[in-house]
């Protein structure tokens, strides 16, 4: 394997650090958006379900940050990574940072996200890096529940009332331009995928599109047509409200430099 020579351990470590940071940022930022729903959900049961999902995501983020900090050799811990970076240093996809919106926006995002996530983690169970594989193993179980939560609400809103169907369709239309970025294969992902270290986004995309087609067809919803895809999160070009999200995340810590928590 001549590639292994040119790729080398150091480069692999650096790439794995960057990759786990991306996944960690995805999980943390989405958890942050879900937190905004708690005490604002349509039912207490839903407050409970959303705090449950947010807690799972937060747990994933913590493990991923720990891995990233170990791989990049800086020894940064989970809080260094979560609280010590500027907004432009975050590497999450734009989808997870989109503002709270209404309940249909929440469900539309959860639908596209959880289906993608389950496919990704299922594939990552076979990752060469044992820590990443172990994380994926656990995440698959959790994400299965998150996905069924989203699927149930999609069915419910789609078959509920004309208003709920209309709102869900509108939310799907709003969210869809941000789905392309989930499967973006930049140099980092291509390098890792070529060496079998992570799943190939192209394969994921096909499965995901199949699943979406099925879910939407069953729900009697239209597949949104997108004219302009949005991306940029993976290189730190975030949306307008992302600075506020990060500021809120860091608010208390910033107000007490040198504090212990």
């Amino acid at each position: 394997m001549p590639e292994t020579d040119t790729y080398g351990d150091t480069l692999l470590c650096r790439d794995l650090a960057a990759y786990t940071l991306r996944l960690g940022d995805d999980a943390l930022v989405l958890a942050q958006r879900l937190c905004e729903w708690i005490t604002h959900a349509p039912t207490v049961e839903e407050d409970l379900a959303l705090s449950n999902i947010a807690l799972d995501l937060l747990g994933q983020a913590r493990v991923l940050y720990a891995q990233s900090g170990r791989h990049d050799g800086t020894g940064r811990d989970e809080d260094d990574l979560a609280y010590g970076r500027e907004p432009s240093e975050f590497r999450n996809v734009l989808l997870v940072e989109l503002p709270k919106g209404d309940f249909a926006d929440l469900i539309a995002r959860q639908l596209v996200w959880t289906h993608h996530c389950l496919l990704l983690h299922t594939a990552l169970r076979g990752a060469a890096d044992p820590e990443l594989a172990a994380l994926a193993e656990r995440a698959v179980e959790e994400t299965r529940y998150h996905r069924s939560h989203a699927d149930r609400w999609v069915a419910c809103l789609a078959h509920g009332t004309p208003q709920s169907k209309r709102r869900l369709q509108a939310a799907l239309d709003r969210v869809w331009p941000y789905t392309d970025e989930l499967f973006e294969a930049d140099a980092l992902v291509r390098r890792l995928a070529e060496h079998g270290a992570v799943a190939s986004p192209t394969t994921l995309r096909e499965s995901w599109e199949r699943e979406m087609t099925t879910v939407l067809a069953q729900a009697g919803l239209r597949m949104p047509t997108v004219t302009g895809h949005q991306c940029g999160g993976r290189r730190g070009a975030h949306t307008a409200t992302f600075g506020d999200l990060v500021a809120e995340l860091r608010e208390v810590r910033c107000a007490h430099p040198g504090g212990t928590w």
Binding site: T39, H40, P42, L55, A61, F103, T161, G259, T260, W261
Partner: protein, 332 residues
């Protein structure tokens, strides 16, 4: 069974005697058992208020979910919010065993006809408040609730067993947060002291008015719903909390606090009961905001709940039709 539930004062003396005997023997009254109307009404009011308190009680800390200063603290807060939502649900379920409808209880909460604990009408101004709520507010709640695990009404007693276990976990986590902050910068220590100054008196008031101003206590104790008077519980809380405050290194804002050797207890000052009355009457610093937020969440969620109801009824109809057509098939 309906007759049993709506039993009037003129109900057979035998039922009333059996009820009294069960209660006196420290056994449990269960949903299907006959019970006096006043007993039922008292329990509904108390359990609903308790359930509402869990739900409204998510708000003061909810603001800090997105702001928690470490991922570990964020996880702890999220888990606590989850527990509180869960407690609210158990308690609503316990109330429903008494023949009330949850939607009706929610309606009464957001229209202000049913109360929740007044403690949640104070604002959480800094992150230290999260710790102090865990330490003092959950601490006071535990003093109130542990005896409820032996409440004469079975479903309520069983819900309390589970709730108390989780509450004492929250209390320990609150205390641990404060210990951490007190080991931090001077500004962090000041923040803790400031939070303690604001929450101490409201926490004492969580036990309700003084005994001589609490006319329902005697009946509740006779029914074995309540086990101790408000003042007994308040004293227990003060005695439990004082050593913890010393351990933390914070000052409680009561110059009259002093150890009473004779009683083997701490003497303490009189809370401002007129403030408690104001807050109960809806004039606390956050009454309006808390209820407005609950109402807004409820109203914004109306279309979602309507969709869920419509979907459920469509599925029920579809289910029936499927069963019907199956039956037909088997007929054939």
């Amino acid at each position: 069974m309906v007759a049993v539930h709506t039993a009037e004062p003129g109900a057979p003396g035998e039922l009333a005697e059996r009820f009294e005997a069960v209660v006196a023997a420290e056994q449990r009254v269960e949903p299907r058992d006959w019970m006096p109307d006043a007993y039922r009404a008292t329990l509904i009011r108390q359990i609903a208020q308790h359930a509402h308190s869990e739900i409204i009680g998510m708000q003061p800390e909810g603001n800090w979910l997105t702001r928690a200063p470490s991922l570990r603290r964020k996880a702890i807060l999220l888990a606590k919010a989850q527990d509180e939502a869960g407690h609210g649900l158990y308690l609503y379920a316990a109330a429903e065993t008494l023949g009330v409808d949850r939607a009706e209880l929610t309606e009464k909460l957001i229209s202000g006809r049913q109360k929740y604990s007044s403690i949640f009408n104070y604002p959480t101004l800094t992150f230290a408040d999260v710790g102090v709520i865990g330490w003092l507010v959950d601490g006071a709640a535990i003093c109130n609730q542990v005896p409820l695990c032996r409440c004469s009404y079975g479903p309520y007693a069983r819900a309390m067993v589970r709730i108390c276990k989780e509450e004492s976990f929250h209390q320990r986590q609150g205390f641990e947060l404060l210990m951490t902050l007190m080991r931090g910068t001077e500004a962090q220590q000041r923040m803790v002291q400031d939070a303690v100054d604001r929450w101490w008196w409201p926490s004492l008031m969580m036990f309700g008015p003084p005994d001589d101003d609490s006319p329902n206590t005697a009946q509740s104790m006779a029914w074995r719903i309540k086990r101790h008077t408000n003042d007994e519980l308040r004293q227990r809380f003060v005695d439990m909390t004082l050593p913890q405050a010393q351990h933390l290194g914070v000052t409680l804002p009561d110059p009259e606090l002093s150890w009473n050797e004779a009683r083997g207890s701490w003497d303490f000052g009189e809370p401002d009961w007129s403030e408690l009355q104001r807050v109960i009457k809806g004039q606390g610093p956050c009454n309006t905001q808390r209820i407005d937020r609950r109402r807004a969440a409820h109203e914004q969620g109306t279309w979602v709940r309507e969709a869920a109801a419509a979907y459920a009824s469509k599925r029920a109809t579809a289910g029936k039709q499927a069963t019907a057509s199956k039956e037909k098939e088997s007929d054939v």
